[in-house]
Point group: D3
Chain length 202, copies 6
Amino acid sequence: MTAAIEFAAAPFRAAGSNIVCVEMKDGPAGIVTESELLDAVAPMLSYALAVEADAAAFVIACFGDPGLHLLRERLKCQVFGIGECGVLAALARGQRFGVISLLQSSIPRHMRWFGAMGVHSRLAGDRAMGLGVADLKNRDAMFSRMVEVGQMLKQQDGADVILMGGAAMSFHRAALEAELEMPVIDPNFAALTWADGVSKLR
Amino acid sequence: MTAAIEFAAAPFRAAGSNIVCVEMKDGPAGIVTESELLDAVAPMLSYALAVEADAAAFVIACFGDPGLHLLRERLKCQVFGIGECGVLAALARGQRFGVISLLQSSIPRHMRWFGAMGVHSRLAGDRAMGLGVADLKNRDAMFSRMVEVGQMLKQQDGADVILMGGAAMSFHRAALEAELEMPVIDPNFAALTWADGVSKLR
Amino acid sequence: MTAAIEFAAAPFRAAGSNIVCVEMKDGPAGIVTESELLDAVAPMLSYALAVEADAAAFVIACFGDPGLHLLRERLKCQVFGIGECGVLAALARGQRFGVISLLQSSIPRHMRWFGAMGVHSRLAGDRAMGLGVADLKNRDAMFSRMVEVGQMLKQQDGADVILMGGAAMSFHRAALEAELEMPVIDPNFAALTWADGVSKLR
Amino acid sequence: MTAAIEFAAAPFRAAGSNIVCVEMKDGPAGIVTESELLDAVAPMLSYALAVEADAAAFVIACFGDPGLHLLRERLKCQVFGIGECGVLAALARGQRFGVISLLQSSIPRHMRWFGAMGVHSRLAGDRAMGLGVADLKNRDAMFSRMVEVGQMLKQQDGADVILMGGAAMSFHRAALEAELEMPVIDPNFAALTWADGVSKLR
Amino acid sequence: MTAAIEFAAAPFRAAGSNIVCVEMKDGPAGIVTESELLDAVAPMLSYALAVEADAAAFVIACFGDPGLHLLRERLKCQVFGIGECGVLAALARGQRFGVISLLQSSIPRHMRWFGAMGVHSRLAGDRAMGLGVADLKNRDAMFSRMVEVGQMLKQQDGADVILMGGAAMSFHRAALEAELEMPVIDPNFAALTWADGVSKLR
Amino acid sequence: MTAAIEFAAAPFRAAGSNIVCVEMKDGPAGIVTESELLDAVAPMLSYALAVEADAAAFVIACFGDPGLHLLRERLKCQVFGIGECGVLAALARGQRFGVISLLQSSIPRHMRWFGAMGVHSRLAGDRAMGLGVADLKNRDAMFSRMVEVGQMLKQQDGADVILMGGAAMSFHRAALEAELEMPVIDPNFAALTWADGVSKLR
């Protein structure tokens, strides 16, 4: 997952931006359940509080946006979640967005979050690949499944833009866009774009 | 706060229901911030897991519904949050509900939660009394302020039902209803109603 | 139909609540059309006015909620409709509810009612079994059809909670929940829960 | 009230259309409550069934649209309600409509109906004049109050089109439009327009 | 296309209304793209300004409603778009409308327009026939495809009223209604109805 | 106006990005009306087509987003409108956004655009300063009026983030944020952020 975030960060670094990707060693290994989302918050908060003076902005690189409003409450600088930024980026690339999610069990949580964002009328559909965090390592199998699910979102649900619903999919964005012939949003890149913009104001 | 919940529980106990009100000693003293919401979850979860075999249902008696979906994920029995149940009860008593909140800073969180529930078109308004958890002890001052805010919700925002937006206001429900001449919902009572119903199925 | 309501009432009676199920002899035999909904109102109103002094609350046990706002206007005590209460109960058990209806012709009416409730963004789908009131007597055939329709709501429409869209289905709730592996709401039980709660305040 | 409907019908009659305004002698004298709405339905239905062969379309000239879906179910020809047609006409003349209603007690009913129509995001506000059906006879006082309420809808609620929320206000449309300097919709005229159009297809 | 509009205008003319159908010679041959929509505006505006003194109302007979708000800004008389009027007419004939569109590429534009109208909760679906403007000449093939798409809207999307999403389909309305056994709205007829009504007030 | 855009572009240029601000000499002097919006499109399109090979992305620096979807249709590279990007940026900084607009007459257009974006449930209010394009030159008077309107959006409408509703207000962002004690979004900066991000992918 960190490799995917590094991949998304590379173009910004190439242009001179200073982006630090940090893995929370005391956080959960993967984040799928509500419990894991909760457990991810405290490590991020203590890290962010420790380095806040040196940062222009923080990105929470988990599609569930754990602790987003808590970190916003506690930190002076801006905090971006890849879930929120991914959705907002999708809204500027198509009229109805489709989400490729890893697991069915995350979809009710996405629905609550999209409802909190007030964007349900723009959602074409959210479909799960039925893959766990462990399956993410097999990139070819993952890509095939992303294409299948993306086609369903396009043809059955009427999506005209696809949002990759996870932090570990960045590698596949360009190829998926070519395959599906429609814009594909990488939420890591979306959040990094906003954080990078904010850093210019420092 | 626990006294208010005991007050709301009394009619159910009088009818023979067994309701245990537990204060989380290792939880935060009051719950106003996002951090305090987070800190409230772990103690509730461990308590609930410990007594789950003996319970028909759990009620999370904090209007912010901390850990609601996490507890639902981890427990087999039903879990009710007073925020969610309070809103749903209000929907059956009027067409547009007004919320009396303690603090302005909680309102964006309420808005996200109402959005996740998908009920924004039913919301007349959410107005803060500007009182902290500490002010809750002065019942007379609190009641006067509730009447003021309730009148604004009725006359300026068009509310035809009032939802008391906190766990510590149960004592005031009947008097407020008489004063405002419109239905007033106690979220503690709403959640206890549902938990009590579920307990009949055991 | 009255048997189903008696079934739903049994757990409350066992706990000591006094629930009277009354069949309106001068009402329509079944309620499917707009005309039958209208014809159901006057008998209910005159019954309710006659016994109001002895009642803590009334439940209108027809999924179309005939006369709900009229009875609320005319009676001092609270009135609950199983349609409204069923929907609200479903909102607390899942993120997107699916409705199993008897007839296709009722669905536009449900859509208007769900719109009036403001809950459309929470609706996964409403699908008809294509059964008439007469078919309700064959419980096995009815259950098989409920399972079929429930599976479609789950798999094609993304429902994570099912609402049984009629007053005569209470018998099937537990078995359907086991079969579909997701929460199933009996609207009779939902409305009785709320009426039972209100009765504690008397 | 019938005079107002005759007033709205005059331009269509002048162009050759045959419009019959019928007062329901066995209906309620005025329609303000839910009970009166209910009582209005049966007389309209029996009248409409009796003359259906001679009619191209029916208009229900009460802003609450009593029996609209019931008459649509029972009659072969098209049925229009002035409430529904008035709202739809307003949507084509401005972006956010304001409603001038007679009584505060009707507003929750309007909110349910606007919700069933799915148009809440287009509603600027609905404000009551606080006048009863009896006050309608004093045309000058009524007009002054309509101007006051219309100004509030325009300036405080942001309405850019006004819908007169009753069947008895047709006389005031042109003067109100001049006074408020914004489009004003007469719901009688709106419904008659649609019925007149349908009659051309006969 | 003009023939279709003439067809829709015939019943009004037969009743004595004076309707002039004008083809914009300096406009685009067909209107499918955003560029063609833009190019359609200036010719309509200069025509309308030239004849404004003689007109009671204007109808823009293109489903994309090009220049609707611009013409409303520049002209004193009322301006109707067939897209907007078609949608509003559909709302009075069914609870969830389905749209038969020519091309997939127009659907995101429709979605933006329906969103601006605030009617998304009433939309069952919008499906394209996959036919270009050129295909409109083969009336039989077009009708067969309309029936196919209409059946999908009815059976898969739950539409209970169909809106023909183009200006050139008027000929097929009655036959399509018979075939699909549900109301079918001709947007040309809808807009002409409103314009005809306004003309009575002159 | 161009000076404001240059101001917003400066931080990106300082970081090495190549941003060209071009004034459309053959476009309208200011853009307030629907006609001016239309007239702005053709010059932008021909400019963009001419330089497309050298551009990573285009920004349309007018809050009305003229020609946004047309340019997206005609150009291969990404196109951003400051209206759309400003709204989306506001959604990530607060729960309910307030818009400071120049003129009352633009607000219905904003409402249509916010409706097309599907974000009405997130809008606190849109209030006009009542200033024309000419008044923008008096920066002090403009700032005072922005503070007044911002306070109304905060206190009366409940906004927790402010969106400056025009291209010429960039200079005031930081001071307004300090004065209002809440986040203030410059739509120029928002769109430039996104365009700058996209340019990294080239």
